[in-house]
């Protein structure tokens, strides 16, 4: 954010590469398996095969209608005019009728083609957008912690957009270009073998140019895609942190930081346009030279009487058209390169396997042993370390009987949240198993898992929509009555009822007008509504005031009855409702016992508790 020197993307290339060796996330280049980009494109287009074929056919017919023009001209000059002079009006009438037909067909087919291809394109985009979205949602929390939201947003907006451009214009360009090359070459060859051969020969240098352009533009476009993603990351971060930006007068420093990223995007953008300019000059030179050569030769042959004047006229008209699509080929390559760079990034994202995968053969939780909602939790020889190394939780065993409320305390970084995340299956253990009523969490399909375990975190994010909708995230099929009951149980009903539209109040952008404490209450109501067997509260009351926390605790005392609960809290008041306390330090459980027992002892918890009592004054 601030000084350019400290922001990784601002470093010059070599430094970037040095970092990239450590962590691909730093440079926004995820490993893409070779051929993944092509495979992605193929898999997107595969279900559309038939429709792509129909669309191509429409375009083929349309081009046939359009390209018939010069042929009719040649026929008119060489046949119809002499026939007309001989009072035979038939051929000229035929030319007129033919032209009329071709014009109507060209227009009608054009309409049909655009409409049909738009359907294909939009379906492909729908598919791709959905895939990115679903995949991003399926990827585990640790991925999200590393991949930054700005990049994900960039993947599903600007990167999809560049594929859209390719599909909207590019593919049509390509088909038109290829078709007209084929058509016109065929026509030229048919009109005159020699002239046609020369025209076809001119494709060789053109092909070389295209290849060179592809290579150079590809590099530039990849740089550009990375550059715009960096711009987006910065943009999103600033807008989401607008209050501190304001309060700490970061505006000017941000402007400067943004300018660096923005300028880099500007530079790559300019590079891309210049590559295009080079290509256009080169291809036009080749094309115009070929036209001059062919006309010269053609003229000589007319002089020798080995070529009809009409045929030369038609050939010249065709020649002009032959090279018309070169620019459009450039445009296609343009969109193609840009889309390829984007697709590569998307493919890289889609190639990420969730580190917390869905089970191939999901199991069901066993029927409950008692009428109580709770279930037994067992950490069986669990150890957790980040993939990058660094052990967070050394191997441990822990059993929480069904219905028990366990408070986990300890200083920041002691591993409390990691324990909770393992139980919620945000992470999977590096070793060992986490069992819910004897079933490994890894064997549970997500809906079943969430009937079992729900976690409420301290960051009480609200989605846009109404308050009621936000609570209903806990259980989408809940009735309004059930939603209100949950809100009442947690003490959130009063403030919600006081909102302008009550439960139907739109919380707008991340609940800007709903205080942090109120948001936590909504988050609680959500969890209550979800009605899980095991409830995890990760510092979920930090922003509540004392009465709010009391209300929540009172509600919890009833709600948690019979339910298994893991409560992580630095407020020891929460401990009052716990049956058991775990004290963690450096990833280990150092004390374990009933609250009263520990308080009476001389351990860390007794100290903590004393400190807390004192803080209450």
């Amino acid at each position: 954010m601030t000084a350019p020197a400290t922001t990784a993307p601002d470093k010059e290339e070599p430094a970037d590469e040095a970092r990239a060796a450590d962590d691909p996330f730093d440079r926004d280049v995820l490993p893409t398996p070779p051929g993944a980009t092509g495979a992605l494109l193929r898999s997107l287009l595969a279900p559309m095969k038939a429709r792509v074929a129909v669309t191509t056919l429409l375009l083929l017919l349309q081009q046939a209608a359009v390209q018939a023009g010069p042929l009719l001209v040649a026929y008119a000059i060489d046949r119809a005019v002499p026939a007309f002079r001989d009072q035979d009006h038939g051929p000229l009438v035929a030319v007129g009728a033919g032209y009329l037909l071709c014009s109507l067909a060209a227009g009608g087919l054009q309409y049909a083609f655009i409409a049909a291809s738009a359907r294909v394109n939009q379906d492909v985009l729908l598919d791709l957008r959905g895939r990115i979205f679903r995949h991003a949602q399926a990827l585990s929390v640790d991925f999200h912690e590393r991949y930054t939201s700005g990049r994900l947003i960039s993947r599903s907006t600007t990167d999809v957009e560049s594929l859209r451009e390719l599909l909207d214009e590019g593919l049509q360009e390509l088909v038109t270009v290829v078709l007209s090359f084929v058509y016109i070459s065929a026509m030229l060859l048919w009109l005159d073998l020699g002239l046609g051969a020369v025209a076809v020969a001119s494709f060789v240098p053109l092909y070389g140019l295209v290849r060179m352009y592809r290579r150079r533009a590809g590099r530039v476009y990849r740089q550009r895609s990375t550059a715009i993603a960096a711009v987006i990351v910065k943009f999103v971060e600033t807008m989401n942190g607008i209050r501190p930006v304001r309060a700490f007068r970061r505006e000017a420093a941000n402007d400067a930081g943004f300018a660096v990223l923005n300028r880099r995007h500007e530079r790559t953008n300019g590079d891309a346009l210049l590559e295009m300019a080079r290509y256009v000059v080169g291809s036009r030179l080749v094309a115009n030279t070929a036209v001059a050569g062919i006309v010269l030769w053609g003229a000589y042959r007319v002089a020798d009487d080995t070529l009809a004047l009409g045929a030369l006229a038609a050939a010249v008209l065709y020649l002009r058209r032959l090279y018309d699509p070169i620019d459009r080929l450039g445009m296609f390559l343009n969109s193609y390169q840009s889309a390829a760079a984007s697709l590569e990034k998307i493919a890289g994202l889609l190639a990420q396997t969730p580190s917390v995968p869905e089970p191939p053969a999901p199991k069901e939780l066993p029927a409950k042993a008692s009428e109580h909602p709770g279930r037994e939790v067992v950490f069986d020889g669990v150890r957790f370390a980040y993939r990058t190394g660094g052990e967070v939780l050394p191997r441990f065993d822990l059993t929480i009987p069904a219905g028990q409320t366990v408070a986990v305390v300890g200083s920041t970084g002691a591993g409390k949240s990691t324990l909770a995340k393992l139980l919620a299956r945000f992470y999977d253990p590096s070793e060992g198993r986490v069992l819910l009523d004897g079933t490994d969490l890894r064997d549970l399909a997500l809906p079943e898992l969430r009937r079992g375990v729900v976690m409420v975190t301290q960051e009480a994010f609200l989605f846009s929509g109404t308050v009621a909708e936000n609570i209903a995230i806990g259980r989408p099929e809940a009735t309004r009555e059930e939603i209100e009951r949950a809100a009442k149980a947690i003490g959130a009903h009063d403030f919600i009822a006081a909102l302008p539209d009550g439960y139907d109040t739109d919380v707008r952008k991340r609940g800007g007008r709903i205080s942090a404490g109120q948001r936590q209450l909504v988050a609680f109501a959500r969890a209550l509504l979800a009605d899980p067997a095991v409830l995890i509260l990760d510092e979920a009351t930090s922003s509540l005031d004392v009465p709010g926390e009391r209300a929540v605790q009172r509600a919890m005392a009833t709600v948690l009855r019979g339910r298994t609960a893991v409560v992580i809290a630095h407020r020891l008041s929460t401990v009052e409702i716990a049956d058991r306390v775990l004290v963690m330090e450096h990833g280990r459980i150092v004390e374990d016992g009933a609250p009263a027992e520990l308080i009476a002892g001389t351990g860390r918890f007794a100290d903590l508790h004393r400190a807390w009592r004192d803080s209450l004054a």
Partner: protein, 634 residues
């Protein structure tokens, strides 16, 4: 064939696009030169058929080899000229157009950073982002192609028409026949198209918002296993977008169909008429070839007008969307340079503030020379709220204000805890001090000086804030903390601030204080982030400190240590501290109770505990009689 591409119905689009002028101005010379070059290149393209005619009628018919060579040489030269001119045009605009896009994006970013916080509360950042990315790309493309080529093609068509009319008057008129119907249909469709285009762009913005939320709220989505319902929401929106895009495509297809068919029909008619006249000997074969060659050469310029207009329409809506944000009033008193010339429009809301700020600026400038002037003012010193009322600008005008006559005086060097029930407006009250929101009426003074009279920069330098939600930016720990200090603050200040906030953990991070945190760095726990945010607030030794529940995420031991260190800082700082708990309240010298939009009571913690039932309830969470019992026990 249409020679004036923009018809009367499109004038509003033109008006929108004209607003781009301030951004285009710096590159106008390049752009004009490029357009001129493009016109010349197109005209060169039109001359080529004339050379062909000359060859067919002259040297070829006369069997004159030297003439044929000369003709071919002309062709070659013209071809080279055309190629180089095309390249020159692109070379001329490549850098300038990228810079226009970048400039507009930077202006948007600058502007957004200075818009009132209330604006950001209303606008989802996805909508803002889509304006800063896709919309601006559309505009760049508009400047690169449609703008130039509407002109170039217009001129090309005009020149082509003149050439055709000169060659053969009758045939020329036949070819011109469909011009009027084409123009009329285009106008009708373009109007519809622009509406659909706008709808599509807005829907893209909505989709972006869903993506963003689902990413930012990923823990909740995962915690409740709501992938499916999020995915459903996303699918519905993207389906709607697909529908809109298809409608757009059908309109575009209709325009294309008309533009392809009608001119082609005219050319067919010209061919028949021309052939008859060649047969009658009134016309040479060479002229007919040249004429048709010219007509066919014009086909692309004519056909392209359809999509050029469509692109222009999209660019016009993109411009509208862009300026919707750029027209929003920035906070008064912020450097006016942040506004792009011509982009600012004085709205009714901001005028009075702007005038006020301008009017009082000289006074504050004087006081800046003598910074001690305010501090000695005994009765007006410190932080004072006088009859402060506040209602969110977008709240219904008849709703009761959130804050209603708040009167509170925090003496210089005193720290005041602010206590109140959840949702009572504590956070809002703190946001008024650095003017993140503007008071509806009443005034707030710092050492006797009205905060509205201070330039915001200066005000925010005087008042440091730690927010409830500790946001860290993608930068090193040191940068994140030091952004609270002025220029030149160094390692000493950093260490001191980290010590106050008990944030020693940073030294254990992989790269110490140089470790990257924030969205693109290491993710820290809530308690760690909160301590860094606190360090950021105290690092600049501000005269005024506003802390919004600064210790909520800390564990008991850390909290006690932070409190001990914070007491030193607070000893000579005027501070307002939002507190939820007795431990935090005890940091302060006195407590104010915010209730029903007013300050209901002020006193020490003990006083209020004894005398104020609501306060006692807030601090203990127990009902009053319980509280009394506890008092008896003591």
């Amino acid at each position: 064939m249409p020679t004036t591409p923009v018809s009367a119905e499109d004038r509003s689009a033109v008006r929108s696009l004209l607003r781009l002028w301030p951004f285009v101005r710096p590159v106008r010379a390049r752009l004009l030169t490029a357009a001129f070059v493009a016109i010349v290149a197109s005209c060169v393209g039109l001359v080529i058929p004339l050379v062909l005619k000359w060859m067919v009628d002259g040297p070829v018919a006369d069997r004159d080899p030297a003439g044929v060579w000369l003709g071919a040489l002309y062709l070659l030269l013209l071809g080279f000229a055309e190629a180089l001119l095309f390249g020159l045009r692109r070379w001329l605009v490549a850098r300038p157009l990228s810079s226009v896009e970048a400039e507009m994006r930077a202006a948007l970013y600058r502007h957004l950073q200075r818009l009132p916080v209330a604006f950001h509360d209303r606008w989802p950042s996805g909508q803002l982002l889509s304006r800063g990315t896709t919309d601006l790309m559309l505009l760049r493309m508009f400047l690169a192609f449609p703008l130039t080529f509407l002109l170039v093609n217009g001129v090309t068509i005009l020149v082509g028409v003149v050439i055709m009319l000169v060659q053969d008057w009758t045939l020329g008129l036949v070819v011109l026949g469909p011009a009027v119907p084409v123009m009329v249909t285009c106008a009708v469709f373009e109007k519809k198209y622009s509406e659909v285009a706008r709808l599509a762009q807005d829907q893209v913005g909505d989709l972006t918002t869903v993506v963003e939320e689902s990413v930012l709220g990923i823990r909740i989505v995962k915690g409740f296993g709501r992938h499916r319902s999020q995915a459903r929401k996303f699918r519905e929106l993207s389906r709607t977008l697909r529908g809109t895009e298809l409608r757009k495509a059908r309109l575009l297809a209709a325009i294309w169909a008309v533009i392809v068919t009608l001119p082609e029909l005219a050319i067919g008619a010209a061919l028949v008429v021309g052939a008859v006249r060649v047969a009658d000997g009134q016309l040479s074969a060479g002229t007919l070839v040249a004429f048709l060659s010219t007509a066919l050469a014009l086909r692309w310029p004519v056909e392209s007008i359809g999509f050029l207009l469509a692109m222009s329409q999209e660019a016009a809506t993109a411009t509208e969307r862009y300026f919707e944000v750029m027209d929003a009033e920035v906070e008064a008193g912020v450097a006016a340079g942040s506004r792009a010339a011509g982009a600012a429009r004085v709205g009714d809301g901001g005028t009075s503030q702007a005038v006020q700020a301008l009017g009082e600026a000289p006074r504050s400038a004087e006081q800046r020379v003598n910074p001690g002037a305010g501090t000695n003012a005994g009765h007006g010193g410190g932080l004072r709220f006088e009859g402060v009322r506040f209602r969110y600008p977008d709240a219904p005008p008849d709703s009761p204000p959130l804050l209603d006559r708040v009167d509170l005086h925090i003496r210089p060097g005193e720290s005041m805890a602010l206590v109140g029930a959840t949702g009572s407006g504590k956070t809002t009250l703190t946001a008024l001090v650095p003017r993140l929101h503007e008071v509806t009426s009443g005034r707030i003074t710092l050492d006797g000086e009205d905060i509205t009279a201070l330039p915001r920069e200066e005000l925010r330098a005087m008042v440091a804030v730690a927010f409830e939600e500790p946001t860290l930016f993608s930068a090193s720990v040191a940068d994140n903390v030091l952004m609270g200090a002025g220029e030149g603050a160094g390692a000493d200040e950093l260490e001191r601030a980290l010590a106050v906030a008990q944030a020693d953990f940073v030294h254990a991070l992989p790269e110490g204080t140089a470790t990257q945190v924030g969205e693109q760095g290491l993710s820290l726990s809530g308690g760690q982030r909160q301590r860094l945010a606190l360090a950021r607030a105290v690092v600049g030794r501000p005269r005024f400190l506003v802390l919004d529940d600064p210790l909520s995420a800390l564990d008991v031991h850390t909290e006690a240590a932070v409190e001990a260190a914070l007491r030193h800082v607070l000893a000579d700082t005027t501070a307002l501290i939002v507190a939820h708990r007795p431990s935090t309240v005890l940091l302060a010298d006195r407590v104010a109770l915010l209730s029903g939009g007013r300050i209901a009571a002020v006193g020490t913690h003990q006083e209020l505990l004894r005398t104020n039932a609501e306060y006692a309830h807030l601090m203990s969470g127990r009902d009053e009689h319980e509280e009394l019992q506890e008092g008896d026990d003591r």
